[in-house]
């Protein structure tokens, strides 16, 4: 009977092995282009430094930066034909959460530094934001590809 044949350890092993090549192909296709994280890092730094602009320019800068983020995400989907707004495993999720927390903390630090007239510290927060996204984003990509290939 077919269900018996399919439900053996050997058949299950073969079925799982048959998926490995596809996962490797998918990991290759979803690899970020070289420009992706540097551009994302610049935009993230711009958002972090926005409080320094003062007045209405803070909101203009943040709005433009958000528009650019959406545009580069869209460019990635168009270029690859794949939308990957989903983390494949716990390590990539952890890296993503840490990156998000650091960027938010740096944004808060930049706001506080700007209010205290400590522009140097605001710029330092912007620099940390930049480094979090690049090369930090490459760390996320590394774990993302690894977990995608392992099929977690």
């Amino acid at each position: 009977m077919e269900s018996n044949d399919a439900q053996t350890p050997a058949a299950a092993h073969d079925a799982l092995r048959g998926l490995e090549g596809d996962r490797v192909q998918l990991a290759l296709r979803t690899r970020s282009p070289r420009w992706y994280y540097p551009v994302l890092a610049l935009v993230t730094a711009a958002i972090t430094l926005a409080p320094l602009a003062g007045g209405v320019w803070v909101f203009v800068l943040i709005a433009v930066a958000c528009f650019v983020i959406v545009a580069i995400e869209r460019a990635f989907v168009v270029a690859t034909g794949i939308s990957t707004n989903r983390v494949p495993g716990p390590r990539s999720l952890m890296v993503l959460v840490v990156m998000g927390v650091v960027v938010l903390a740096m944004l808060l630090a930049a706001v506080i530094a700007t209010n205290l007239d400590q522009a140097v510290w605001a710029v330092a927060a912007g620099a940390v934001s930049f480094l979090t996204m690049f090369p930090g984003g490459l760390v996320y990509d590394h774990f993302y590809g690894q977990e995608l290939r392992r099929g977690l």
């Binding site: 439900q7 998926l19 296709r29 794949i82």
Partner: protein, 110 residues
């Protein structure tokens, strides 16, 4: 993978399983990219997609292509929540089976 293991005959056929497993870690994928990645003809993939849509496991959406000059639209394929639960459970069942000692058939209902 913390899903409940459930062997699903309807997605165990190799092409169906490969397509569902390909869609599992992504939100959606272009039809042409799925065909290329799986090494399937458009006709073969189309047949598999239709069958899985009928089962309620995947959904398709059409979108104007940003890379084509003509009026044709690209088709995007995604797992539905039902399909995602099915492939998670099926992969868990396969992993459970594969990790069992020996290679004899497991007890079934016949």
């Amino acid at each position: 993978m913390a899903s409940r293991a459930r062997f699903d005959e309807s997605i165990h056929a190799p092409t169906r399983l490969r397509l569902c497993a390909l869609l599992r870690p992504v939100d959606h994928i272009d039809f042409s990219v799925a065909a290329t990645t799986l090494g399937l003809s458009d006709a073969n993939l189309s047949k598999t997609v239709r069958a899985l849509v009928e089962l309620g496991y995947i959904s398709t959406t059409k979108e104007a292509s940003t890379t084509r000059r003509d009026a044709r639209r690209t088709t995007q394929i995604a797992l539905t929540p039902t399909g995602r639960a099915a492939i998670d459970g099926h992969l868990a069942a396969l992993q459970d089976l594969a990790s069992m000692k020996g290679s004899g058939p497991t007890p079934t209902d016949d």
